[in-house]
Each structure stands twice: as structure tokens, then as C-alpha cells.
């Protein structure tokens, strides 16, 4: 690859690549994202590659291993263009059929098509699948088109044209103004206006400035940053370059967690490719911008997603937050002005610069603009990544896109925003995805993780889960976060074990308020949210646990009571043999068996299964 020295050379390269690809009649896009790789998509890709080279079809059919398509539930998935065909749940055995039937003869293989769970009909085209239909995919749609390890793919898809446009004739002030006008807000959780952040950093004194991409995503059930970085690292790099131009930085860092090996690898490849082409380095495309990116790998601490801890980690110090009374835009990495944005925020920047701020600000609600990628997980049918316009009601996401709960039971609550967010009950499902409205309801958009909980979930148990996570991930520097979360967990544990007392809920609320107000960093300040929202919306469940010593959802093991229904018992004695505690006594084949209180443990659940079988 030769170095690109001017804007014209970039355009020439793009034209040349498009001409080269004219002979290709069909493109097969197989998802190589983490979700599909977990469903063995690698085998499908290898088999397809073999088959294509065996049949000498490589000239006309291009196999493109892309990033995440979003519909992880149906993985491994494949899209065949130009027919817009969608195949799902693929195995390596299907490859032969796909090549001989679909790719050569153009026939559609019915058994590989997606079945709509509502109508039961097979759907051929991607555009007709409700999961995709209801979304507004701006960032994720690019994931389908490019091979993340190929800069050519990205350039063919129009990549780096936003950068060229900016460097050609937009001053840094105008870029900041455009981002400001677009009302883009930080996608990492806080929702701070990106334009204001950039403007403050631009005005901060000092020659040396930094831009950082925060890809230390650690929320349980959230993986949108991972998929964007894995699927389209050049988009993020381009966004960072525009940001660097705007604030006057010439060094950038991508802080990505080491647990995302594919994201680390793809970013590394992308940075190297960009360097080779002269898109990173001195005088990029012949302009005044000199900028380079380093990759910093995180060691797996959730707290390192917090901006000051992240910077400490890059500096080589212990990843602990520090007081943020002076903002990072003035005193950040190495005590220099620093702009830190989330992966998704950076990914939005090239689109805004290319299509204009007004294009962006027409989408969304009054104070939250653009689109947001959400990770739908939990008890929902269509698990996957969803990109919707801001302001889409939660109901639409859960039912129209998500397809309702897996069990068919009612969805009881949805935890939005990960451990820092809160649980919203079904009565709040008409709320739109909007930074301010969700915060008002006690939750937050956060990074965009949506964990769906159905009737089988116990809300006290959910609070316990998030507290356990946070207690484990707290850095331990400040007292309220370290001890406060631990004490909250202690109380919640007591409640789930049936040792709860009546005044404890008030104590829990008081403590949660103290922790959220006095903690040092964002982790501690938002840590009580899961407890506070479950207390606010599901207080009756807590009270049932305390007063009646009963878990309505039957989740809290210590509160499950077993009994033998004398009308149904046939005296078969299966339960007697199954109980490791010998808690069931009686004579086999006689209709009188009795159960004694015993140590309730995990094995006892098996006995329960036996009892149920008897019924």
C-alpha cells in the first residue's frame, strides 16, 4: 500500500478500488463478531472459503467477514447481496448447499431462512425482518458492509471522506461548532454534551493535548462498544482524528479492555493500516494535522471505565479515580487537556461531519439527538444489538424489536444502563430512550445495556446481583463506595436469606443516598441506583421477603419451602431417594410421606424437581 499524500490521492484510490470490484457480482457477508463466533461462525467461514476456492468463484463472489450484524440470537448469520437474502443459524454443513444452490443457481434455501415468530412465515430479505425493520441503523449498518481488517473496504464504503472534508476546508472552530450544533451527547453514560467538552478542551491552555477513546466497557450485558470497535475500527479512528483536529491534539489513545481480544486485534490492524497509508502520522493527507494513535489495553477493572481512573491507568499508575474538581478537559492525561469520549460517540462524529449537524439533530427528542445502540439481553427473544432513534419508547424496543420475553411470560422490568442504571417496571415502559427522562425515572441511558427481566426474576435478587458486581469492582479507595456497598449487600443478603428486619429498608435507603452523594467517582455515585429503583418500584417484593419470609418469584433459595401435597403423593419414594439430607421419611408405597425441615441447599432443588414429577 502506498502512502496517501493528498486528498486527491485518497479519491483516486477509492475510484480504483470501486473499479476493481466491478467484476464481483455477489457479496456474501458472514458475521465474524463475537456473538456469532460463539455460535461457531468461524467454521462456516472456513468452509465457505474452501468451497469458493474449490469452485473457483473467488473472482465473482466476494466473501466478507464482517463485524456484528446485531441479530446475535440467530447467529451465525449471513447476508447475501445484491439479493438482500438473510440466512441464519448456519452450520458448516449448510455451506455446500449455499454455494451450489443460492450462489450459483440463485435459488433460496427455505430451511435457512428466518422464521417470524409472530406469523410463522419465512422471511427472505433482511429489510423485511421486523427486528431490522424497526431500527434506525446508522453506525451498525456500516458494520455489515466492511471487513474490519480491510482499510480498502472502509474506503470503498466512503470511509475517511469525512476526514478529508474536514481537513480540506473546515477550521477546528467550525468543527467544534458543528458538533455543538448537532447536540451530540456522550454515549458512554453521562450524556455530557460532546461539543461543550471539545470547546472547553480547545480553549484550555497548553500545547500538548490528548484525545482518548474509552472502550473499557464492562457492564454486565452490554457489548455495543465492543461490536463497533470489532466491526468497524476505522470509523472510530476517523472520529478521533476529526476530534484531534478540532481540539488541537496530536496524540490519541484507544483504551480497550484486554478481555476483548478481537477488538484489540482489529484496532491494532486498523491503526497499522492507517499508519501505512499515511492516514496517521505527520501531515495527514498533506494537511496541517499530525496525529497518531496508541492502543492501551485495560487489565479488566470495571472502575477503569471511569475517566480519571482510565487516565491513571494509561499513565502507568494504579487504575484508581481521583477527585474531579478540575475537569479532564483542563487537567487530564499526564496533566494535559484531554478529551475522553466513548467508542459510540467517536463513531457518530464522521457521520455528523459528512451529513451535517442538522441531519443529526433532526433525529431524536428535544434534548437527546441521533441514534443510540442498545444491547438487548436477558429474558428476551431477540437478543442482540439494536440501534434506534433517540426517543423510541421502551415498549417498542422490547416488544416490536425484541419480540417479547423468551418464556412468553410478561416482562416485569428492564434494567437500563447496567449496574449504574436502574430497573424500570412495566408501568414505565412507555418512556422514551432519552437521557433526561430516564434519569428522572431513576434509571439512565448509560452505555445502553438493557437487561430484560420476566416474571421469574426476583427483584431483590437482581439488586443483590448488581451489588455483588459493584462490591467486587469497587477500587476501594473511598469509604462510602468500599464499605457502603458492602453494607448494602450485607443487608440485601439478610433479606434474601429470610433474616430481614422491618427497619432495614429505611436504613438501606439512607445508606444508598449517602453512598451516592459522597462517593469519590461515578462508580460509587451511581452504585445505589439498582437498589434505589428496585426499592422505589418493587418495594412490595422486599416487604414480602421481610414480612412473610417468602420470595414471590421463587428465586431466593433460602426462602423456598417444600411440602408434600398429600392429595397428589402416590408414595413412589423417588423424592426419598433423591434427598441428600434424608429429610423425607415414610414408608415406600404407602401414601404417607412426611417432609422435615432441612438444610436447604442446591441439591434440594433436584428433589423439588422430583416432587414436581410426582405431581
Amino acid at each position: 500500500m502506498s502512502r496517501l499524500n493528498s486528498f486527491r490521492e485518497l479519491e483516486h484510490l477509492r475510484e480504483r478500488l470501486i473499479n476493481q470490484r466491478k467484476s464481483i457480482t455477489t457479496t456474501v457477508m458472514v458475521c465474524g463478531g463475537t456473538g456469532c463466533q460463539a455460535s461457531q461462525s468461524r467454521k462456516v467461514i472456513d468452509a465457505l472459503q474452501n468451497e469458493l476456492s474449490k469452485q473457483r468463484l473467488e473472482g465473482q463472489i466476494r466473501l466478507c467477514v464482517t463485524g456484528c450484524h446485531g441479530f446475535c440470537e440467530q447467529g451465525p448469520v449471513m447476508i447475501i447481496e445484491p439479493d438482500n437474502l438473510f440466512y441464519c443459524h448456519l452450520t458448516a454443513e449448510d455451506v455446500l448447499d449455499i454455494v451450489s444452490q443460492t450462489l450459483i443457481k440463485g435459488k433460496v434455501i427455505q430451511r435457512l431462512l428466518y422464521t417470524d415468530p409472530v406469523s410463522g412465515k419465512k422471511i427472505e430479505k433482511v429489510a423485511n425482518i421486523p427486528f431490522y425493520q424497526m431500527q434506525d441503523r446508522q453506525i451498525l449498518s456500516q458494520n455489515l458492509m466492511v471487513d474490519p481488517c480491510s482499510i480498502e473496504d472502509y474506503i470503498v464504503a466512503g470511509g475517511y471522506s469525512a476526514l478529508a472534508k474536514v481537513l480540506k476546508g473546515t477550521s477546528p472552530e467550525e468543527v467544534v461548532k458543528d458538533i455543538n450544533d448537532s447536540v451530540l451527547r456522550g454515549r458512554g453514560g453521562g450524556g455530557f454534551p460532546t461539543g461543550r467538552k471539545w470547546a472547553e478542551c480547545r480553549e484550555a491552555p497548553g500545547k500538548e493535548k490528548y484525545v482518548i477513546c474509552n472502550a473499557d466497557e464492562g457492564d454486565p450485558g452490554a457489548y455495543m462498544d465492543r461490536c463497533v470497535l470489532e466491526g468497524n475500527p476505522h470509523l472510530v479512528i476517523e472520529g478521533m482524528m476529526i476530534g484531534a483536529w478540532a481540539v488541537g491534539a496530536n496524540k490519541g489513545y484507544v483504551y480497550v479492555r484486554n478481555e476483548y481480544p478481537l477488538a484489540v486485534e482489529h484496532t491494532r490492524v486498523a491503526v497499522n493500516q492507517a499508519r501505512e497509508m499515511g492516514l496517521l502520522g505527520n501531515n495527514i493527507l498533506g494537511s496541517a494535522l499530525s496525529f497518531d494513535i496508541d492502543i492501551a489495553r485495560g487489565g479488566g477493572a470495571f472502575v477503569c471505565g471511569e475517566s480519571t481512573a482510565l487516565m491513571a491507568s494509561i499513565e502507568g499508575k494504579v487504575g484508581e479515580p481521583r477527585a474531579k474538581d478540575v475537569h479532564a478537559v483542563v487537567d487530564g492525561l499526564f496533566h494535559k487537556p484531554t478529551v475522553l469520549n466513548n467508542v459510540e460517540t467517536w463513531a457518530n462524529v464522521p457521520f455528523i461531519m459528512l451529513k451535517g449537524p442538522s441531519w443529526f439533530s433532526t433525529k431524536g427528542t428535544a434534548r437527546s439527538k441521533g441514534t443510540k445502540i442498545l444491547a438487548l439481553t436477558g429474558q428476551i427473544k431477540n437478543t442482540g444489538l439494536v440501534e434506534v432513534e433517540m426517543g423510541t419508547p421502551i415498549n417498542t424496543i422490547l416488544h416490536d424489536i425484541g419480540g417479547g420475553s423468551v418464556s412468553g411470560k410478561q416482562i416485569k422490568a428492564v434494567q437500563i444502563g447496567g449496574p449504574s442504571g436502574g430497573c424500570l417496571p412495566s408501568s414505565k415502559f412507555d418512556l422514551p430512550i432519552d437521557y433526561d427522562i430516564l434519569t428522572e425515572a431513576g434509571s439512565m441511558v448509560g452505555s445502553g445495556g438493557m437487561v430484560v427481566l420476566d416474571e421469574n426474576s426476583c427483584m431483590v435478587d437482581v439488586a443483590k446481583y448488581f451489588l455483588t458486581f459493584l462490591q467486587d469492582e469497587s477500587c476501594g479507595k473511598c469509604l462510602p463506595c468500599r464499605v457502603g456497598i458492602d453494607r448494602m449487600l450485607e443487608i440485601v443478603n439478610e433479606i434474601t436469606e429470610g433474616k430481614g428486619k422491618l427497619g432495614q429498608l429505611e436504613l438501606l435507603e439512607d445508606l444508598a443516598d449517602t453512598v451516592s452523594q459522597t462517593s469519590l467517582c461515578g462508580l460509587g455515585k451511581t452504585a445505589p441506583n439498582p437498589v434505589l429503583t428496585t426499592l422505589q418500584y418493587f418495594r412490595d417484593e422486599y416487604e414480602t421477603h421481610i414480612r412473610e419470609k417468602r420470595c414471590p418469584a421463587g428465586v431466593c433459595k433460602a426462602l423456598i419451602k417444600y411440602y408434600i401435597d398429600p392429595e397428589k403423593c402416590t408414595g413412589c419414594g423417588v423424592c426419598m431417594r433423591g434427598c441428600p439430607q434424608k429429610a423425607i421419611t415414610g414408608v415406600k408405597k404407602e401414601l404417607i410421606l412426611s417432609i422435615q425441615p432441612c438444610v436447604r441447599n442446591a441439591e434440594f432443588a433436584e428433589v423439588n424437581a422430583n416432587l414436581k414429577r410426582l405431581e
Partner: protein, 233 residues
């Protein structure tokens, strides 16, 4: 030349040295904001959070630790509101429940108005205030001890648990440790921990003004800013 800024702390307009922290300024003027991890002449990390104050910016109050907050011209600080007293009391309660076996901690709890402890006592040996770690690194530049582990497992330790050659045996870490001051009736055994409340005399006489300094004996032993003249350097 020394530069000064005007700061309003609890309504009193005071002249503060530019670059000083709000806590230092308050202590200098005799407005006592309870604190534990802060030691004069050591860097502040804001670990104990006892020194929380309300920082009023454009009519909106933000709660933050005063030891890491630097003074600025025209700043408004409220160190003794109902809200702050409640938060401080809750923090002191957490602290004393964690480590009741220290007169210093018991006294802080008393001064912050803790009258009952709603959590089971734990009787731990360390409250992770980090005084020892910072005196080792800031004053002696030895770095012989540091924090190890995360969250609940965080503790103070020598590198690889062995006293290193560069430890200067200055014993400053021990001198500054709040846990070395035993409660008056002697150490509490496990299971017999309580909120001692023995130092009623140290308690603020008037609840309306708990921020005023009573020159408590505790402060002398404990490196309170008012006694910084006697501080070992």
C-alpha cells in the same frame, strides 16, 4: 508574592491562599471540618470523605470532599448544613462500625453526632485512610508500603509482603495510624465492640454549631491541622 482569594465558608468571607484546599483554609480559620485521611503537608486523596461540604455553583449545590477541592475566587462553601451533617454522620457510622477499636475513630463518630450504630460491628484493623502510605511516599520518598488489592481486598502491604531494604524504619506510618490509639477502657475484644461514647466532653456543646473547634485532646494526638506546629515533619 503570596496571592489570596476570597472564599465564603458558612457565610464567613475569608482570605485564602491561592492553591490551598478548602479544608486547609477552613481549619486555618478555626472552622473545623471533621476529617480523617487528611494530614497537613501530605497530598490529599479524598479517601475518607468525612470532610464533605456543599459547594454552591450558580445556585446549585454540589457535594464534594473539601480536602481535594481547591479555593477559587468568589467560591461559596457550606460546611455545616443539615444535609452535610446527616451525610457526615452516616459516613462516621460506617467508619466506626468497621473499626470501633480506636479512640480516634470513636471520637470522630462522637463529633459527627453518631449515637447509634445500625450495622453489625466488624472490628477491623485498618480503615484504609492511607496516612501511612502517603507519609512514606510524600515525606520520605521511600514507597516502602502501598495499597494492594481492590475493593474489599484492598490492604496496606510491603511490596510482595516483605519489608524492603528501602524502608527507613522511620515509624512514621505507625505514628500517623489512627488505629494505634486504643479506646480509653482498653482494646475491645471481638464480640464486645460498641460505640463507646465515653468522650462526651469532646462533643459539640451546641448542636447548631458543631463546626466550631473545641481544641479537643484528640486533635493533638491525631495530627489535626490546628496542632500542625507540633507535627513531626
Amino acid at each position: 508574592m503570596q496571592q489570596y482569594v476570597n472564599v465564603s465558608i458558612d457565610g464567613a468571607i475569608v482570605k485564602a491562599q491561592k492553591g490551598a484546599s478548602v479544608l486547609d483554609t477552613a481549619i486555618e480559620y478555626g472552622i473545623c471540618i471533621p476529617h480523617l485521611c487528611h494530614v497537613p503537608n501530605l497530598s490529599d486523596i479524598g479517601a475518607c470523605r468525612l470532610c464533605v461540604v456543599e459547594h454552591v455553583v450558580n445556585g446549585r449545590s454540589r457535594i464534594t470532599a473539601s480536602c481535594t477541592l481547591n479555593v477559587e475566587e468568589g467560591m461559596t462553601i457550606l460546611a455545616n448544613t443539615e444535609k452535610i451533617r446527616r451525610l457526615r454522620r452516616n459516613l462516621a457510622e460506617l467508619l466506626v462500625a468497621q473499626a470501633p477499636n480506636s479512640r480516634a475513630i470513636q471520637d470522630i463518630a462522637m463529633r459527627c453526632g453518631v449515637t447509634e450504630v445500625r450495622y453489625p460491628f466488624r472490628n477491623e484493623d485498618c480503615v484504609l485512610c492511607g496516612r501511612c502510605v502517603r507519609v512514606c511516599s510524600d515525606v520520605w520518598r521511600a514507597n516502602a508500603i502501598g495499597f494492594v488489592g481492590r475493593g474489599k481486598d484492598r490492604h496496606v502491604e510491603f511490596p510482595f509482603s516483605i519489608r524492603p531494604d528501602f524502608c527507613k524504619h522511620c515509624e512514621n506510618c505507625r505514628q500517623l495510624c489512627p488505629m494505634t490509639i486504643t479506646p480509653c477502657p482498653g482494646p475491645m475484644t471481638s464480640g464486645n465492640e460498641r460505640l463507646c461514647g465515653g468522650c462526651e466532653s469532646q462533643r459539640m456543646t451546641n448542636d447548631d454549631y458543631p463546626g466550631s473547634c473545641v481544641w479537643c485532646k484528640l486533635g493533638e494526638n491525631f495530627g489535626c491541622g490546628r496542632y500542625s506546629g507540633n507535627q513531626t515533619r
